[in-house]
């Protein structure tokens, strides 16, 4: 079936109430907002100084005083996790916007201008051919382990895959009848790209954005875990878990609780993105099995 009726993504936001009919959007948004707020307001919610070391309470299990227990230096894992959330969210947001912007731009160009497609895609293939974690580690090693450099590295890692997804959508849209119709009445390429193809690509762009955000949070944690991200004394989710690895058998809480928080955050993001996808694509809305 070919879509003859164009969907306008933004017009649907007029009924914001409609959005919240989608439970996954509400749940995902609530979860992410909650964790974001708690992280931003970390000074208010934390119970201890995240950097304060008390050797007397090394590796103590979770208690009323230390909700997530303490690590090998006697630091409060709960408070460190809260502060770690700030860096993880900042990383995720930044990577999503940077790679989303460049990915969409490259995807539109490659999908629409077939001559440039070959060149652009081969260069992107070259980048995508690297296993993402190795590329991120190598880039971070080159640039130096600062947070801004981790963000740049992760953006470089995720731009090609975003571009590829957007391109594949553009490839399909450019063959539709309404694009053919616009062409036949003399619409310019720019008009077709920005008035027809881009608005119709929004759903996959946003779904891809939520996916990149989520993956960036996980990959940042993995980098810190492997000791290739931001310096170890700065509390990040991966860094906290990494510090708990040698004590995994005696103090599993150092790994367990920050991991649960990462999962909740990423789960919320993915849930939100999925809901938004169902919502923004009306062809899927009416489908209730067969």
């Amino acid at each position: 079936m070919v879509d003859t009726e164009e969907k306008n993504f933004f017009s649907r936001f007029k009924g914001l109430k409609l959005v919240f009919k989608y439970r996954s959007i509400t749940i995902g948004l609530a979860l992410v907002t909650f964790l974001l707020l708690v992280s931003l307001l970390a000074p208010a919610f934390s119970t201890h100084n995240p950097m304060y070391k008390d050797p007397n309470i090394r590796l103590s299990p979770p208690s009323r005083e230390y909700f997530f227990g303490t690590d090998n230096l006697g630091q409060d894992v709960y408070s460190r996790t809260l502060y770690g959330g700030r860096l993880s969210f900042l990383t995720g947001f930044s990577v999503m916007f940077i790679s989303g912007f460049f990915g969409t731009l490259l995807g539109l160009i490659a999908g629409y201008y077939r001559r440039l497609d070959f060149v652009i895609m081969r260069v992107l293939d070259g980048f995508m051919a690297f296993p993402s974690i190795l590329l991120a580690i190598a880039l971070t090693a080159v640039l130096g382990g600062r947070l801004s450099n981790v963000i740049i590295a992760l953006s470089i890692v995720y731009t090609p895959s975003s571009a590829r997804v957007i391109r594949s959508v553009v490839l399909i849209i450019r063959e539709t009848e309404y694009v053919e119709a616009s062409k036949s009445i003399g619409a310019s390429s720019l008009r077709i790209i920005f008035c027809h193809i881009l608005p119709n690509s929004f759903a996959p762009i946003i779904v891809q954005g939520s996916y990149v955000f989520a993956r960036a949070v996980i990959l940042e944690a993995a980098l810190s875990f492997l000791g290739a991200g931001v310096p170890p004394w700065i509390p990040t989710w991966g860094g906290i878990m990494s510090s708990g690895r040698p004590y995994m058998m005696v103090a599993p809480w150092i790994i367990f609780f920050p991991g649960i928080v990462v999962i909740l955050a990423v789960f919320g993001l993915n849930f939100f993105g999925d809901g938004l996808r169902d919502f923004s694509d009306p062809r899927l809305r009416g489908v209730r099995g067969m």
């Binding site: 079936m1 077939r114 497609d117 070959f118 081969r122 260069v123 293939d125 070259g126 980048f127 995508m128 051919a129 690297f130 296993p131 993402s132 974690i133 190795l134 580690i137 190598a138 880039l139 090693a141 080159v142 130096g144 895959s161 594949s168 490839l171 063959e175 989520a214 996980i218 944690a221 993995a222 875990f225 492997l226 290739a228 991966g238 878990m241 690895r245 995994m248 058998m249 599993p252 790994i255 367990f256 991991g259 990462v262 999962i263 909740l264 990423v266 789960f267 993001l269 993915n270 849930f271 999925d274 996808r277 062809r283 899927l284 009416g286 489908v287 209730r288 099995g289 067969m290």
Partner: protein
């Protein structure tokens, strides 16, 4: 089609040149002197200079690049700085665990992913769909290193079904190998199944809202036939793409999982070679994994054109 094939195969050349170039640049811009790293802090300046000359590190960067490409064309990837083995040999010695890990993980991921994706799509809106979808998103949200550590605590320490570290090569018996790879494959398989399941579900839903499915149902075809013959066949394209991309994820995942489970594979080798500034080895590994990935991508694209004649290639 044949022209397209030839074009795509020729297109591998620039991609691999770019890969080689990026890999080369990356590693030559890394701060740190491999000669210093190898010899340690007690080395005299003379020793360092001698080694630098031996390794070609004194040459200007563009000459090093030209030599690198020239040797590449002869199929010579150089020698690892640390082990002094030829790079290709060093890679092939570490290939088996990674290859098996990748295959097992992909099988597990596809089995879980495609099944749960189809079930979720068919039962859309019911509690089964909710559970399947939530579970798949949950899997997508678990960091593989965290899952590895939890599995180690559960299966390696509490019930002791599987070894928590190390690798038994195939020549010691397939079952032994399988045991050592069980937890790592399970980790990677589960984490990556989520993505396949998610795409299977949305792709099936997309197809099932199309008119030809309604037509097929209306003309009286059985439910089963419509699902398997009309819906799944049309939904398979995105699924295949995702499986191809998953292969890249699996190699990435292998870096983490091999490090945690102490598997002597390519992932572990790659990480240690980057951190040790072993230029030739790192370049070789990057080129090797990139070649595999590019070939898989090519295969996916060819399948695409083969399975969906609507997509035009200029």
């Amino acid at each position: 089609m044949r022209q397209y094939l030839i074009k795509r195969i020729l297109a591998l050349v620039p991609v691999l040149l770019i890969v080689g170039f990026v890999g080369f640049l990356l590693l030559n811009l890394i701060p740190g002197d491999p000669a210093l790293v190898i010899l340690g802090p007690e080395a005299t300046l003379d020793q360092v200079n001698k080694l630098r000359a031996e390794l070609g590190l004194n040459l200007p960067i563009y000459l090093r690049l030209i030599y690198w490409y020239a040797r590449l064309f002869r199929g010579d990837l150089g020698y690892s700085i640390f082990s002094s083995l030829p790079v290709l040999q060093a890679i092939f010695e570490r290939l088996q665990p990674t290859l098996l890990l990748t295959i097992f993980s992909l099988i597990i991921a596809s089995a879980i992913g495609i099944t749960s994706g189809i079930v979720a799509a068919l039962k859309r809106g019911t509690w089964i769909d909710q559970i399947a979808t939530s579970l798949s998103i949950f899997g997508l949200s678990i960091p593989s290193f965290w899952l590895s550590l939890i599995l180690i605590i559960m299966f390696g320490v509490w019930v002791r079904w599987f070894p928590v570290a190390g690798y038994e090569p195939l020549k010691n018996g397939f079952l032994k190998t399988l045991r050592t790879l069980a937890l790592p494959s399970l980790t990677l398989g589960f984490v990556n199944s989520a993505f396949i399941s998610r795409v299977t579900r949305s792709s099936m839903l997309e197809v099932m809202s199309q008119d030809y499915i309604k037509v097929a149902r209306a003309k009286g075809l059985s439910y089963r036939k419509v699902i398997l013959k009309h819906a799944l066949r049309n939904a398979i394209l995105p699924i295949i793409t995702v499986m191809g991309l998953t292969l890249g994820n699996l190699v990435s995942g292998a870096v983490v999982v091999e490090t945690i489970f102490a598997l002597p594979g390519i992932g572990q080798l790659a990480l240690s070679s980057i951190l040790r500034r072993d230029y030739p080895l790192t370049q070789g590994i990057l080129l090797f994994t990139a070649t595999v990935f590019v070939l898989v991508n090519l295969l996916v694209d060819i399948l695409y054109a083969f399975l969906d004649p609507r997509i035009k290639y200029g």
